[in-house]
Symmetry: C2
Subunit: 234 residues, 2 copies
Amino acid sequence: MAVRTPDALLDAAEALFASRGYEGVGIREIADRADANVASIRYHFGGKRELYVAMVRRAMRHRPTLSAWQLLEQSPRSRRDAATLLCRFIRNFLDGLLGDSRTAVCARLFQQEASSPSEAIDDVVRDFIAPNVDALSRTIARIDPDRAPDEFPRLAQFVLGLLLHYHVSRTFIERLTDAPLDRGPNRAAVADDIARFTLRGLRTREDFIDRALEESRAPATPPPASAAPKGTSG
Amino acid sequence: MAVRTPDALLDAAEALFASRGYEGVGIREIADRADANVASIRYHFGGKRELYVAMVRRAMRHRPTLSAWQLLEQSPRSRRDAATLLCRFIRNFLDGLLGDSRTAVCARLFQQEASSPSEAIDDVVRDFIAPNVDALSRTIARIDPDRAPDEFPRLAQFVLGLLLHYHVSRTFIERLTDAPLDRGPNRAAVADDIARFTLRGLRTREDFIDRALEESRAPATPPPASAAPKGTSG
DNA sequence: GCCTCTTTCAATCGATCGATTGACTCCTCC
DNA sequence: GGAGGAGTCAATCGATCGATTGAAAGAGGC
C-alpha cells in the first residue's frame, strides 16, 4: 500500500472538508475517497470531529512549506529591498491563493475556522496566523519604520485583507468583471495594483514603488550579490 | 398573529442560516423558531432549498436601507469632500459590520454565497454587490481622478477587502490582539487606520487626509452650507 | 502451529434529515 | 347551513447521518 490509512483519511478529509465544509461532507464519502472503511475513521481518530481537528492541525503545521511565506524569512537590508520583497510576496501569495496549491486549501480551512471555530483554532492561530503576521509585520516595519511598533501588526492585517479578499470574494469579483482570475495576465495586474496600493499606504516614495515593482519581477534573489537566503531544512 | 407565517419563516431562516450555514440548520429548528409547523416550509416555499433562496433574495433587496451605503449616494463637490465622505463610509460600514446590524447578516450571507453559490447568486450580485461597488467607485473617482476609468472598480474592491477582512477574520484578529472589536475605541482606531491607509493608497495629499478624518467625525452633513443631500425615498 | 495485538471489513445501530401525507381548523362566499 | 379554498397540524415516509459491533484478516513472537 502506498500510504497508510490515517494519512489517506487525512488527505481525503482535507480535500473534501476544504471544499464543502464540515457539515457538507459525510464520513462515508471520506472513507471512499481514501479507499478505506468507514469504521477506520473511528478506529484511528475517534470520530468525524476528531478527524477534522487532526486534519486542520496537520494542514497548519505545513505552513513553513508555503513558498510565499518563505520569502518573508529574508531580512532585507534597505527600505527599497523590503519594498521589493513585499511586492514579490504579494504576487507569490496571490498566485498560490488563486491557483490550486496548498495555500488555497489553507485559506479555505482558515475561513471555515473563522466563521465557526473548532477545537483546532488555537493551533491555527499559533502555527499559521501569528507567525505569518509577525513576518509580514517585520517586512512592513522595514518599509515604513517611522511608526509606533504596535501599528505594524494592523498594517499586516491590511495586506492580508487585500489579498484574502480575492479568495473570499473571488466568485463575485469574477462575475462582476467578467475576467477570470485563473490565468496570468489579469491576476498579475491585480497583484501589481495591490502592491502599488499597499506601498502607497505605507508611505513609500513613488520612484521606490516603480523600482520595487520592476525588481520584484526578477527571477530569484533580490539583489545580485550577498549570501543565499535559504533557511529551510533541506 | 403578529407576522404572517412566510415572513416569520424568512426571519428565522435568515438568523439561523446566516449564523450556521445552510447545512448546519434543519427545517425543524427553523419552524420552531418561527412558531410554525415543519410542513409550512413546504407549503409556502416548496422546500428547504427554496426557503433559503427566497431568504437570500429578500435580504439583498433590503440593501438600500443599510446606512453606510446610503452615504455613498451623495455627490461630493470636491476631492476633499469626497475624502471626508469615504472616511465616514468606512467608519459607518465597520460599525455595522462589527455590530449586530443587518449589515453583518448580509456579510455572512454574502460570504456563504461566495464559497458555495446558490440559485440566488445572481440576485446577490445584481441587487447588492454591483450597486455598492459602483457607488464606491464613483466616490473613489472623485478622490483620485487621474486614473483610467477601469481602475476604479478594482480600487473599490480594495476598500471592500480591507473592511470585510475585519468581518471574515474577526475571530483571529481578536485572538491575536486580545482587543475585542465590539466596543468603540478599538473599532474607531481600526476605522481611522483603514481610512488613512486607503486615502494614501488613493494618492491623497497628507494634509487632506488629516482634515478628512477630522471632518468625518462631525455629526451629519459634511460642509455647513449647501442643500441637503438626501436622496432616499422617504 | 499457536497465541496476541493491530487493522480492516460488512452489517447494523438509533437518531435525524427533508419530504410528504391526510385530517383538521378557519374563513369566505353563496 | 353548507361548499370550498387556505392554512395548520401531528404523524410518518424513506434516506442518510455518525457511531458501533463482532468477526475476519494480517503481522510478529515464541
